[in-house]
């Protein structure tokens, strides 16, 4: 990865910030471009709707919008040569309806989007249970999609209740069935984030050497996903499993 454009990187209560990204930024090993959540969301939403921008009032006066912090612009990358890099980070526009200043946030259309969901049909229909974050915007903005699902199910099953589905199959290029595939994060109503695993990851990533050791153990040191799950162990995974009445685990020790 050479350019990171986003709004946030961290682990909430399980770790203070994204230590790998922070180190790369501090060492100037990566180009980064900050946005707020609304800005990042609107970039994808504009991409999904096929319009060049969406307007917002959010965060006017933030240093996110200070031209000094337009890092891609300062690196000379806003010359139109790369279709993924907009010519402007944003535009301040005096809009004609009320005469107020508003920001125009440019569309983003990624080549690839990888989404983890609850269920995908054999023909690619996507179902997300519970919170949908910006799954719809990100998937529809992207040229190609890989859907990783807890379960692949017969299309007919999802089409019995189309109101519960999010994305039709023709947006989807590949489907992958991967039980517990969101670990160490969670999947709404199915299993919880693994807080102690995430906290250990955060602590390990405070140094490059720590991250390298972590990656050797948890990424390169396991042959496949099954071996990863076996290494985690059934006791650990079962503690994360959601109680269907609550939508989250009733056995996980917290605090």
């Amino acid at each position: 990865m050479s350019i990171w454009e986003s709004s946030w990187c961290g682990h909430e209560l399980y770790g203070k910030f994204g230590a790998n990204l922070a180190r790369k930024i501090e060492n100037k090993e990566i180009l980064y471009e900050d946005y707020s959540h609304i800005h990042a969301l609107y970039r994808l939403a504009a991409g999904a709707q096929g319009v060049p921008f969406l307007p917002t009032y959010s965060s006017m006066g933030s240093d996110i919008l200070n031209p000094e912090n337009d890092n891609l612009g300062k690196a000379g990358l806003r010359d139109g040569a790369n279709p993924h890099i907009p010519k402007f980070k944003y535009i301040t526009y005096k809009e004609p309806f009320t005469g107020s200043e508003i920001l125009l946030i440019p569309a983003a259309n990624p080549d690839w989007c990888i989404t983890h969901v609850h269920m995908v049909g054999q023909e690619g229909t996507v179902r997300v249970e519970g919170l949908r974050f910006c799954d719809e915007e990100a998937i529809k903005a992207s040229k190609h999609n890989i859907i990783i699902a807890g379960q692949i199910v017969p299309e007919e099953y999802l089409r019995r209740e189309p109101t519960r589905n999010l994305i039709p199959g023709y947006f989807v290029d590949y489907i992958v069935e991967l039980p517990w595939g969101a670990h160490p994060t969670g999947m709404y109503g199915a299993y919880e984030p693994d807080g102690s695993f995430i906290n250990n990851y955060f602590t390990s990533t405070r140094s490059q050497e720590g991250f390298d050791r972590w990656a050797e153990e948890w990424i390169f040191g396991v042959k496949d996903h099954q071996e990863y799950l076996a290494k985690l162990g059934i006791t650990r995974l079962e503690a994360l499993r959601a109680n269907p009445a609550l939508g989250y685990s009733s056995t996980l020790k917290r605090g």
């Binding site: 946030w8 961290g10 909430e12 946005y35 959540h37 009032y57 912090n69 959601a242 939508g247 605090g255």
Partner: protein
């Protein structure tokens, strides 16, 4: 504890208890509240159980008006969505925010300045120490009617600075326009101006903002003086308007916090 009435005495509560109670008291009944992870969750749940039963909470991930029975540990926690009216996504949550539906928001940051500008991106500016970045902080701080910042201050005066080293989230006044002149928020936001920072609640006092958008000390937590608060600030804090002491938690509030809302000590460490 549950049989006692009235306010607890010094020594019967911890600084975090007072922070949570002072924050909860900012909620008015019936309000729409936008909360983040940690103390804000304690504050809104306490307010709902005490004086604001019809206040509703929105979490940025899209959980709308949940009725959690267990304390969430992130804004995406399924606990936020227990008995929610809607579990949707960011477009809904932030759309409600931008259209002026959110009365009160709880936020935090690494640094705050005298105008309520908040930094969650870099300590020491872009060549300094990298933090998480904005997330929803800038959106929420700029578009909610009132926002309440929860900050640690005691022996951390570096968090209360004259000028934040990076304005992630704009407060009442900030540099704006091609000349980057200090401008009042109402002159920038047009029809989307509907308020700004209402209070900063720290482990030493409660701060508010005057007509010019400048922070002043409103109440001092018991055990501290106005001078202590000023000494833990890098700018010349206005202490001329102090109303008195921040009320301590009541026994009822402590009972709710420790035995009902956070019995496992997830945020209020035991």
């Amino acid at each position: 504890m549950e049989n006692k009435r009235g306010h607890a005495k010094i020594g019967e509560f911890k600084p975090m208890d007072l922070l949570a109670c002072a924050a909860a008291r900012e909620v008015r009944d019936g309000e729409v509240v936008f909360a983040g992870t940690g103390l804000p969750m304690l504050a809104i749940m306490l307010a709902q159980k005490k004086h604001a039963p019809s206040a509703v909470c929105i979490y940025e991930s899209g959980s709308i008006a949940g009725r959690p029975i267990d304390l969430p540990t992130s804004v995406a926690d399924a606990r936020c969505s227990y008995q929610a009216a809607i579990a949707d996504g960011l477009m809904d949550a932030f759309g409600q925010l931008q259209s002026g539906r959110v009365d009160l928001a709880y936020l935090s940051g690494a640094e705050v300045d005298m105008y309520g500008n908040v930094n969650t991106t870099f300590i020491g500016g872009p060549s300094g120490k990298r933090l998480t970045g904005s997330g929803g902080n800038a959106d929420i701080h700029s578009l909610a009617k009132r926002s309440v910042l929860i900050m640690l201050q005691l022996n951390q005066k570096r968090r209360f600075v004259e000028k934040v080293s990076y304005i992630t989230s704009p407060g009442w006044r900030f540099p704006y326009g091609p000349k980057r002149e200090w401008t009042h928020k109402k002159d920038v936001y047009g029809p989307a101006f509907r308020g700004g920072p209402e209070a900063v609640i720290s482990d030493m006092g409660v701060y508010r903002f005057d007509e010019d958008g400048v922070m002043y000390l409103d109440t001092v937590h018991p055990g501290f003086t106005s001078e202590d608060c000023r000494a833990n600030c890098c700018f010349d804090l206005n202490i001329s308007r102090v109303k008195g002491e921040t009320p301590t938690p009541t026994y009822e509030e402590l009972e709710l916090l420790h035995n009902v809302i956070d019995p496992d000590g997830i945020i209020l460490k035991k």
